[in-house]
């Protein structure tokens, strides 16, 4: 297998995630797109770990998974709080700090 096929797949997944973050208005769907981005990074880490035959890539992928779990927990708590205060999770309505 070529290294590049994994890297290109991860790049495509990353770009789909970026598109989702830009185009979605629902807070829940933005969080799902962020998960796609983090998974693309994990593929890269494990692929380079396999290339250099180093265990560090896998270890950092595990750390990324832990950080992503923390991120989704906090993110959902924020979305829930926003829903409770405004009865909507439309991110385009969250413009309280807009100048």
């Amino acid at each position: 297998m070529l290294l590049n096929q994994f890297l290109l797949l991860a790049a495509a997944l990353f770009c789909i995630g970026v598109y989702g973050v830009l185009v979605r208005k629902n807070g829940m769907l933005v969080l799902m797109s962020v998960e796609l981005i983090l998974n693309a990074v994990n593929i890269n880490l494990v692929a380079f770990g396999a290339l250099t035959d180093d265990v560090g890539g896998e270890v950092f992928a595990l750390f990324t998974i832990a950080v992503a779990a923390a991120e989704v927990g906090i993110g959902l708590a924020i979305v829930l709080l926003m829903y409770r205060n405004r009865r909507s999770i439309d991110l385009s309505e969250a413009d309280l700090m807009k100048g």
Binding site: Q5, F6, V18, V23, F63, I65, I74
Partner: protein
């Protein structure tokens, strides 16, 4: 270089199967990811996310990292997606909106995504075009655990504290009072 070529010719019979599996996984994964960012139903997006994350786990298996693949299935498909579904249920008012995004915004975001992919693909093909992965045996779990608890012990402790802080923070943020 010679050793790489010898290794490639040595397991040339399994390389074909690996590539076929990779193609199937990649196509289904990318389709699922596109459905995640385009479907208008939030529950469907969460379920397509399961397919995309399972594809990532299958890629980890192909790369010989069983432990990361198992962790991916446990944490992402087991916990994160369930958390998403709970979130969807608790914020039920918004099921199936997202239709109101302007076409102009959609096309601009698509341009950004395609340009980003173009730049990254050019850089990757330019840099890593002839690097081959030769995975003859999976990475041992004992190596991973030894490495975590010796070389990477400080980041591991930091991650533990981070998870605790996130747990407490989520409770504080979402608490009713």
């Amino acid at each position: 270089m010679n050793s790489v070529l010898a290794a490639v010719s040595q397991d040339a019979d399994i390389v074909v199967a690996q590539n076929v599996f990779f193609g199937v996984i990649a196509v289904s994964m990318l389709y699922a990811a596109i459905r995640v960012v385009t479907t208008s139903n939030v529950v469907h997006a969460a379920l397509w996310l399961v397919v995309a994350l399972a594809g990532v786990a299958a890629n980890f298996i192909l790369l010989g990292s069983e432990f990361v693949a198992v962790t991916q299935v446990l944490v992402y498909i087991g916990a994160v997606v369930v958390l998403f579904l709970f979130g969807v249920m608790l914020t039920r008012a918004s099921l199936g909106d997202d239709e109101s995004v302007a076409q102009e915004k959609r096309s601009m975001a698509a341009v950004v995504g395609v340009l980003l992919f173009g730049v990254m693909a050019f850089a990757l093909i330019d840099t890593w075009s002839d690097d081959r992965l030769v995975i003859d045996e999976p990475q041992q779990v004992t190596e991973v655990s030894d490495s975590i608890f010796s070389q990477y012990i400080i980041p591991f402790e930091a991650i533990s504290v981070l998870l605790l802080a996130a747990l407490i923070g989520a409770i504080v943020v979402a608490r009713q009072d």
